[in-house]
Amino acid sequence: MPLPKYSFAEVFLSFFTSPGRAASIAGDLAEESQGRRFRFWRQVIGTAVSLGFRQLGTAPVQLLLLLLAGNIVIDWTPKLTLEGVRNAFANWSAHAVDPQALTLKQLLLTRVAGSLVAGLILAALSRGREVMVCTVVALSRPILFLVTWLWFSYPLTWTILMLNSVSPLLLISTAVCVRRLNLQDQIAEDARRRDSTPAS
């Protein structure tokens, strides 16, 4: 009996591994679940988490970059007017809880976890288009700042200018590095495919 195609699962898994591997993993999970959707999706999520952690373990530079990008995203969300986005990150961010009630270690942990989740989401959403997406995100803050400054005659100082230009530069550099790492993965995958031969 033909099973559902589960195309979304394949796309979701491809955030954590190469598209070719994501397709065969989704096929394996579909075959095993035999149409039981809950079991299928539970296994897809579990597999994605494992693959994600493996990627991070084998690419510490990428992990650092994701943390950096995520930290910047968390930093910015309260400043943007998108309350929904801010609330989405709220559970993971130290901004959302009372800092007085937290120890320094807890504050650091929530911050790192929040940064990692935000960074993973950013990388996943922008896979293959990291530079473009991160540039748009990066430019949103200075643009918002300029609009606010022009509209409300906000006092302009060098410190404010510095703060508003350093973070976007960091985020764009992060995007360039993540892009390079993804390209390397793609090249390795293409080489593997060239070497492999179809089997029945």
């Binding site: 009996m1 033909p2 099973l3 559902p4 195609k5 589960y6 394949e10 591994t17 070719g20 591997r21 397709a23 065969s24 993993i25 989704a26 096929g27 394996d28 999970l29 579909a30 075959e31 095993e32 296994q43 579990g46 597999t47 994605a48 988490v49 494992s50 693959l51 952690f53 493996r54 084998t58 593997r192 495919r193 070497d195 492999s196 031969t197 179809p198 089997a199 029945s200």
Partner: protein, 111 residues
């Protein structure tokens, strides 16, 4: 000769399962083999990350099969043990055999 890479316990089991399954080793059958023969119910994520790691180490290689309707039109990825994989298994087996020597754990001592 290059020293074979040391294997983790789970890597060792996965390599043996791939070896046993011969041409039919892909995600589903490997998991089934591990459950039936080693009594290990393995999460799919753990298996795929281990297979990826073994492939990175050059101990297994993979190739794509034909897409089938029962898998939603997706191809199976078949795994096979490489020459380095064989060497790594042999080295691990030798180490276990040497350590087992003189012990009577399985009922009859290994000479």
């Amino acid at each position: 000769m290059v020293e074979p890479l040391p294997l983790g316990e789970f890597e060792h089991l996965v390599l043996l399962a791939v070896l046993r399954l011969d041409d039919g080793a892909y995600g589903v059958t490997i998991r089934r083999e591990l459950a039936e023969r080693a009594g290990r119910e393995v999460a799919p994520g753990a298996l795929y990350t281990t297979l990826d790691r073994l492939e990175d180490k050059g101990l297994v290689e993979s190739r794509l099969g034909d897409p089938t309707a029962e898998r939603g039109g997706r191809a199976k990825r078949y795994y096979s043990v490489t020459t380095n994989g064989f060497r790594a298994i042999a080295a691990a087996q030798r180490a276990v055999r040497n350590l087992m020597e003189g012990l009577n754990i399985l009922g009859d001592a290994i000479a």
